[in-house]
């Protein structure tokens, strides 16, 4: 049986900030439809790694493929490529001068050249999907953090990405708002979306992740299914990380 085609593939990926080796020989892949949770202590390179996929961070060595596309191919139209990669930031980064609907419609109208009406219908559909249908005309400043992050997810989904990347999507949220965002992410996972999530939400990982990558000092030091990773971590580093995480 041939393995399922990979959606994201890192081959020998290396990145340095000056002398600091931020990503050290990353070799890994995420299959179509797979949900991978990346965790690790701060400074371990997990955010850097996820940001290399749509080239918000450049790498110095190695190759990255997204949906079969070499991310660093000279012929790549970077803007067009990025529009296919759904990306959700820790700090939401909604555009505060645009309404919720306009936030979602911006890229579809500018990049995909959708008509205003088409983009608006699509925005309404996506807002309903993240449970915010009545907020189309609100401004981001009027929303709670959890609502803003759900709008940010809808904004990324509006480009119909084959995969979604989440960079600590719940880390900037008050605890009572984490659940509503995770709920949306879980429903995406259930719908078969390929997802790469940098997060420390163990409950989320246990429930929907197919695999967990544990990173430390720029390397993926341990991978496994969430159940065995969380209950029986193999490396000392992962054991210490998990016990630190639980003591909070």
């Amino acid at each position: 049986m041939t393995p399922p085609p990979s959606m994201i593939r890192f081959e020998n990926v290396n990145k340095w900030y000056g002398d600091y080796h931020a990503l050290d020989d990353i070799d890994a892949h995420i299959a179509k439809g797979e949900v991978v949770v990346v965790c690790g202590p701060s400074g371990s390179g997990k955010s850097t790694l996820i940001r290399t996929v749509n080239r918000l961070e450049e790498i110095q060595k190695g190759k990255i493929y997204f949906d079969g596309q070499d991310v660093h191919a000279p012929s790549l139209d970077l803007n067009k490529f990025r529009s296919h990669v759904g990306f959700v930031f820790q700090s939401f980064n909604l555009f505060p001068h645009l309404s919720v609907a306009e936030n979602i419609m911006l890229a579809p109208t500018l990049v995909l050249k959708q008509s205003k009406t088409q983009a608006k219908d699509e925005a309404a559909r996506l807002l309903a999907r993240v449970g915010l249908a009545p907020k189309a005309d609100a401004y981001p400043g009027q929303l709670s953090g959890g609502q803003q992050q759900r709008v940010a997810i809808a904004r990324a989904l509006a480009m119909n990405p084959p995969a979604m990347l989440f960079d600590e999507p719940t880390s900037a949220l008050d605890p009572e708002m984490v659940g509503e965002v995770l709920q949306v992410m879980k429903s995406l996972a259930r719908d078969g979306m390929t997802m790469m999530c940098v997060t420390h939400e163990m409950g989320f990982a246990r429930e929907v992740a197919d695999r967990v990558w544990f990173m430390d000092q720029g390397r993926i030091v341990e991978t496994g299914d969430p159940e065995s990773f969380f209950s029986n971590p193999q490396t000392d580093r992962a054991q210490k990380f998990l016990s630190d995480l639980r003591s909070h």
Partner: protein, 250 residues
């Protein structure tokens, strides 16, 4: 005080509109036209300079930086003389005092506005650009649709202050005989000969009222902008929105 009122009654129109409608427009009207046109034309140039100043391309960065530093490092009056003597030589025909002054103000103000716009762009969170690029917007689309609308809105108070400076700077047009407000006051002074204190008190009064009210307007706008910004901070809860923002937060 009686003298001042008498002067205003007699020469008020000269101060306000110059010899218009029997002669060219002048006085406060020209001061105002020069300032408005000066800033309006300087703004697009200033935005272009600002974009060049933050651009990663050396061929854009260096010339723009040189222009900005040069203009900010010389007195305006010297620039007026340069334009006054060089522009006619360059064009091969005489240039009116008004046009000379306008060109000077546009160049000079563009350099200052460029720094205001640059600061406005750089004060936006980096995440704004990243989010725009991440959904596939090009650099120019990001600037036009995401960065500049926010930066310019935030910069309205600073730009209004710059407008106030420009109003005061138009008085230097006097040295190349632009018929603006100061020129008109001086004309009146030359006619009356014995009332310099009253005439220049009127002049000071007009400038002050105009600039002071615009400065107040700028302050008012500044408060509005910071209130709006406060409402847009990350993670605002509905409760925080319902409570009025204390004055110290402004």
């Amino acid at each position: 005080m009686g003298d001042i009122i008498a002067i205003l009654r007699e020469h008020g129109p000269l101060l306000l509109v110059g010899q218009y409608p029997n002669g060219p427009l002048g006085g406060l009207a020209i001061t105002f036209v020069l300032s408005v046109l000066g800033v309006a034309l300087a703004l697009p140039l200033g935005i272009a300079l600002a974009l060049a100043r933050i651009s990663p391309f050396r061929w854009a960065y260096w010339p723009a930086t040189a222009v900005v530093y040069l203009m900010r490092g010389v007195p305006l009056i010297m620039l007026i003389f340069w334009v006054y003597f060089f522009l006619p030589a360059l064009l091969g025909r005489p240039v009116s005092g008004f046009s000379t002054m306008l060109v000077t103000l546009v160049i000079y103000q563009a350099a200052y506005l460029a720094e205001i716009v640059r600061a406005g762009i750089e004060s936006l969170p980096k995440g704004q650009t990243e989010a725009a690029r991440a959904v596939g917007l090009s650099y120019m689309q990001t600037m036009r649709k995401v960065v500049l609308p926010q930066a310019l809105y935030n910069m309205v108070p600073s730009m209004l202050s710059q407008f106030v400076s420009t109003i005061k700077e138009t008085s230097l047009g006097y040295v190349i005989s632009v018929h603006e407000l100061t020129f008109a006051a001086n004309q009146i002074n030359s006619t009356l000969l014995t009332k310099p204190f009253e005439v220049f008190a009127i002049l000071a009064g007009i400038y002050f009222v105009l600039c002071f009210s615009l400065t107040q307007l700028a302050r008012h706008l500044e408060r509005r902008v910071s209130r709006r910004r406060a409402g847009q901070t990350v993670g605002v809860t509905p409760q925080a929105l319902a409570t009025p923002i204390p004055a110290t937060a402004e």
